[in-house]
């Protein structure tokens, strides 16, 4: 595709690594590479070792490059991939030089967008690619691979087809049948609608798990000062991440550790202890604690004394944990509270299990398909609300078939934003294919 411009971007994350990949796509991609390499010719799809130089003739890097001529490339355009040493300054030098030669820094997702515009992937697959890049764990990528393979596409296509079938029967009432709608047809349409609604609701409910797989979850450890929050974090992380001391208020800033629980990246945040304080820095720490609580998926409330009250003041799920079990002889029978000793590492497994259960990680199955992007969720959500409005027409004693059709059409439009348009012809084709029409 000739957009008139060629784009470039590093496709590996920023930072030091063994290899970094810089991708160039567009009609000038090959020409730019030729300029970098001092006029060398490259064969299509063959990794070639080459010394690449900047405009002043200084060597940027000696590394492998591959040319993929369109349309047999990821974007469908001519693509060049440079596999350089993973040093941010080398990567930057490449990107700058290419931009100086007439390339343009790609917008986020632009390679994938071009790939989509060139018909290499469909919209749902394009989203899956974007999510794939972002997905942080093996399990998550498995779920995304599934979407790429079309399992979400398949479910959505079935939904689209069912909605079309429903709509075509409604349109038959409006466009063909000159009789009033029969009671049995009314009942049957209503049943079909309810069936579709349950599919949509199920799909909608998968979003929280899909998002969990993709983005992970945040668990915030809160409690008064000196109850052992930092010790717990270190214990969970299995390393000395946070400074621990007997002095209350040691943790001023929040400390974060990311752990993989059941394949889901879970970010644990150790916060400054909650107490009224004169210390300006500690006061800021407390303010930050409240901010973290706001963004948390789950809160672990820690105390060190069975008589102390647990943190309660949010609408979030909270796990109450009683620390310093090692210092108490007396057994406590309150099952809703988890007893641990962060110091001696007892009860930590039970706590992890409880966290996994509370976040819903144990409900994730790699066999299922999940909605994972906001756009998918919004589409399904608006499909669902249109269907709910449609349902209300059946509750009224006069069925306004026209408005019913309007809402079903709206629900179909929502699915269409994910899969592509259902035209009025598609609906009429169904009417003629399945119903006896004509006087």
């Amino acid at each position: 595709m000739t957009f008139g411009d060629t784009i470039v971007a590093p496709t590996t994350p920023y930072g030091h690594s063994s290899v970094a990949i810089i991708r160039i796509s567009g009609s000038d991609a090959a020409k730019l590479l030729s300029k970098l390499s001092g006029g060398r010719n490259f064969s299509n799809r063959r990794a070639t070792l080459s010394s690449l130089k900047d405009l002043d003739g200084n060597l940027i890097d000696r590394c492998l490059v591959t040319v993929f001529l369109g349309p047999g490339s990821y974007t469908g355009e001519d693509v060049v991939e440079i596999y350089s040493h993973g040093n941010p300054s080398i990567v930057e030098a490449f990107v700058n030089t290419i931009c100086d030669l007439g390339g343009r820094l790609a917008e986020p997702g632009e390679f994938t967008r071009r790939s989509f515009l060139n018909g290499k992937i469909d919209l749902v697959q394009a989203e899956a690619v974007a999510a794939l890049v972002r997905s942080k764990s093996i399990e998550a990528s498995r779920s995304q691979q599934k979407v790429l393979g079309g399992s979400l596409s398949k479910i959505l296509a079935a939904l689209q087809s069912n909605l079309s079938a429903l709509l075509s029967r409604i349109e038959h009432q409006l466009d063909i049948s000159e009789e009033a709608i029969s009671l049995s047809e009314k009942k049957s349409l209503s049943n079909l609608l309810v069936k579709i609604m349950s599919t949509v609701n199920h799909l909608k409910s998968t979003f929280s798990l899909g998002r969990l797989l993709n983005r992970g979850a945040t668990v915030v450890i809160v409690g008064e000062t000196n109850v052992g929050k930092s010790t717990l974090l270190n214990c969970l992380a299995g390393l000395d991440r946070a400074i621990v001391s007997h002095i209350p208020g040691t943790t001023r800033d929040s400390i974060e550790v990311e752990l993989l629980l059941g394949g889901v990246p879970v970010l644990f945040i150790d916060t400054a202890g909650l107490r009224a304080t004169q210390d300006v820095i500690e006061e800021e720490g407390v303010r930050r604690t409240y901010r973290h609580i706001k963004g948390a998926d789950l809160i672990v409330s820690l105390t060190d004394n069975p008589d102390k009250k647990h943190f309660t003041q949010t609408g979030k799920s909270i796990i109450s944990v009683l620390n310093k079990k090692d210092l108490r002889k007396k057994k406590i029978n309150d099952k809703s509270i988890i007893h641990i000793s962060a110091k001696t590492n007892t009860g930590i497994e039970a706590l992890k299990n409880r966290i996994v259960a509370e976040l819903g990680i144990n409900k994730i199955s790699t066999e299922d398909t999940y909605l994972s992007t906001n756009r998918q969720y919004r589409a399904i959500d608006s499909c669902g609300s249109a269907l709910s409005r449609a349902k209300t027409f059946f509750d009224s004693n006069v069925l306004d078939v026209e408005l019913l059709s309007f809402e079903i059409r709206a629900s179909l439009d929502a699915i269409d934003t994910l899969l592509g348009k259902t035209s009025p012809d598609d609906i009429l084709n169904r009417v003629f294919a399945t119903m006896c029409v004509g006087k």
Binding site: D175, N397, D400, S405, D425, F432
Partner: protein, 625 residues
Amino acid sequence: MKRLQNKFDIIVVGAGHAGVEAALIAARLGKKVCLVTLDLFAVGRMSCNPAIGGLAKGQIVREIDVLGGIMGLATDKSGVQFKILNRSKGKSVWSPRAQVDKRLYEKIVYSYIQKEKNIHLFEGEVVDVLIQNNAVGGIVLRGGHRICSLAVIITCGTFLGGLIHVGQKKIRAGRMGENNAEGITEALVSRGFVAGRLKTGTPPRLDKNSINWAKTTPVFGDETPAPFSYQTMLFDPPNIPCHTIKTNVVCKNIIAENLSKSPMFSGDVGGVGPRYCPSIEDKVNRFSHHDEHTLFLEPEWINSNQIYLNGFSTSLPESVQLRALRAVPALESVRFFRPGYAIEYDFFSPSQLKASLETKDISGLFFAGQINGTSGYEEAAAQGLVAGINATQYVRNDSPIILSRDEAYIGVLIDDLITKDTLEPYRMFTSRAEYRILLRFSNAHTRLIKKSEKFSLLDHRGLNKIRKIQCGLNAIVASLDSTVSPIEINETLVRLKETPIKQKTPATTLLRRPSLEIRDLPKSIFSKGAGTSIPPPFVYESYIEAEAIIKYEGYIKRQNKQVRRMKKQENVLIPSLFNYNAITGLSLEAKEKFSRVRPQTLGQAQRISGITPADVSVLSIMLVT
């Protein structure tokens, strides 16, 4: 015959429903028109069913009426039974239909033509079109006589290469008993136009006296009929019944056994038939589990001996038609005036037209009606009207009238024609209109009066009649702002199983309740005078329209929002010589389709069948870069 003058503004070829509307509007707009027909006695003929209007078509007739066409008025004067369909299904899909006295209809249309001084009606067969420098210059008649004009509108109906099939019998004809037109197709094809073949059918005409009427069920029209034309001030049509009967297993089996004798099944007919109007053999074949199909006995004119058997379109041999029908109760000893038949005819792919109905390649040449692959009197008349207006605009060197998809079914019709592939005769359905809620038969005046006025399609008297109806409607809507007290309405609410009100409530709020209709509201709220300026035939309809405006308010708003989104794309123009092949990102199919159709706007481009959103994205990027 008057001596034929040799120079006209516009020549209209064909005097069917498209041709007469085209000729009449152009003449009224002051143009000298030559209307050429194969048969002076077949002007405005209804070749098939004796009815006008119906689902989606009724709305079109209303639109034609506001835009200065005659179909509505002629129907009001010749209708024998009027009915509003879809009454129980939502007010925006209400569609008026009339059974019509065909002979009277033709007579009325003929009188309109005769009264029009600017029309020269002329009998002859057109065999070629004069073209110079890609502009039309007139026509050539059989025998070689030439008539010159600045614009030509071709409306040949089923007459282009018409071939009738009855069983294995084939007859070259435009309609049963009427000659077809040979030569125009070849002439146009030689100039680069792409032609195709379509098929349609018609049922047998029965002898009234051979039917056992006691075994039939009468069906009447509405007690309070609604006219099609806003110009109809006094309206008191007859209410003559149609009758229904049902086919049975014996009938079905006779048809099933003889399927191979139908040219549709033997492969004799190449054209594609309309799926929405299947032949009886098609119904029997595809829905073999249905033993019964309803048939309608419709009189072709008042006191007609000839009965149109709606629902039994067929091209089976006459003997099989008779045997199958004689198995049906009430038709045991039925006789035919003429059998059902199928007809194949040429059409020109309408993607070769602009939205004005002018051909993209030859300026001044317009196509309208069945030649564009449509079916139906109403669809034809609508195109004829638009072509007539636009040929006039062309002669005046002025811009054409284009109706948008949110404005009129006629807009949907023409936009579909020029962007979609024609695989079967195109018929209007309400579901083709994505902004259906906006396109009510009862708001045709509101939708189209401004355009009608802009193009001077109605005279002052005509416009004033419509304005008066609109004024009355506005008064009714305004009076719905007044409040209703509990005592006035609670009894009704209880009867309708709605919650009673506790305090004075605006009538609009009450009307939004699904079960409540405008007639349930107390008469007192309609301020004196509200609706009194409305001519009697339109009073009922205006109340219904007022109810729709209130009840659908939320939906109307939502549709208007969709319309605004659509218009953004609609207004991106594509240069007519745009080179699609240079866009490497387009799929081969898209390149081929864009190059063939040459859409005028991005909106049209995205509606072309087979075009994906990706193609449109690519195209839109190319248009801005």
